[in-house]
């Protein structure tokens, strides 16, 4: 686990350089979209943030299952850390989405299926963290949050496929969809590069958040021993 973390956890500088590079490319090098114009550039932060949120909640799902299976507190810490980072990325997704919506639809918010299910996703994982903070017993906290981490993930595919299942103001998927991606190859390359850079940033943030969770557990343990 430690050696795996050493490989997966990038230094802050690598994360910053990766994100700065794709932001620079997305803002100044890649040409604007033929139909949407400049405002389409929001896609390079909005879509990666959404995908990273999915990834983070998937990590929470896997770690929650592992906790319930093995009673491994390390898995519980990973689940909690990933949920918080995922919540931040979900918040970024929602805010950048509202800005993009105002620019293209003329409104900041609409209760359409994609926006509503994404807001619900935010609330589910905010609730996950609130419940963790409210439970004193370490084992009860881990068990309750594992259940929420598993059940809550059910909303992720609903968010993603909501634009296909229901009539939606939000555009349908352009990359993860039946058939070929409906996006220009250059724009797609920049989008995938952005996803990669945001993944590096996610791994950095997750590593830091995991350190914090471990430090808190150690402090709690030391306090128990000393008292």
């Amino acid at each position: 686990m430690t050696s795996l973390r050493r490989v997966l956890a990038p230094p802050a500088l690598v994360a910053v350089v990766a994100v700065a590079t794709v932001i620079g490319l997305g803002l100044f090098v890649i040409p604007p979209d033929r139909l949407q114009g400049q405002v389409q550039r929001i896609m390079y932060v909005h879509v990666p943030s959404a995908w990273i949120a999915y990834l983070a909640f998937f990590v929470t799902l896997g770690a929650s299952i592992r906790y319930l299976w093995r009673r491994d507190l390390g898995a519980d810490r990973l689940a909690a850390a990933s949920a918080e980072v995922g919540l931040v990325f979900t918040g970024v997704t929602i805010v950048t989405g509202t800005i993009w919506g105002k620019a293209t639809w003329g409104i900041w918010w609409d209760w359409d299926p994609r926006l509503t299910t994404t807001a619900l996703l935010f609330l589910i994982y905010a609730g996950y963290l609130l419940i963790r903070a409210s439970l004193a017993d370490r084992v009860r906290r881990a068990r309750a949050s594992a259940v929420i981490g598993i059940v809550g993930f059910a909303n992720v595919p609903i968010v993603h496929f909501s634009v296909l299942w229901w009539r939606s103001l939000h555009q349908p998927p352009t990359v993860i969809r039946p058939g070929d991606p409906s996006i220009d190859h250059l724009l797609l390359a920049e989008l995938l590069a952005s996803v990669l850079a945001f993944t590096v940033l996610f791994l950095y943030l997750l590593d830091r958040r995991l350190d914090l969770e471990r430090a808190r557990d150690e402090a709690d343990q030391a306090l128990l021993v000393s008292s």
């Binding site: 929001i42 918040g91 800005i99 402090a219 709690d220 306090l223």
Partner: protein, 57 residues
Amino acid sequence: MNDVAFVAGAYLVALGALAAYAATLVRRLRAARAARAAIDRRGATPTTEAATQPQAN
């Protein structure tokens, strides 16, 4: 507002939020480690959120 303002706003909000979160993580981690060190040194009452969380039974 023109399109460039929307794009600039979205990037500023996104990158600002992520940078602020990263900074918060570093600060919270330092506080948790300081609390742990204080407990180890003196067995003293902790002073940060990390060690003031309710204890497991």
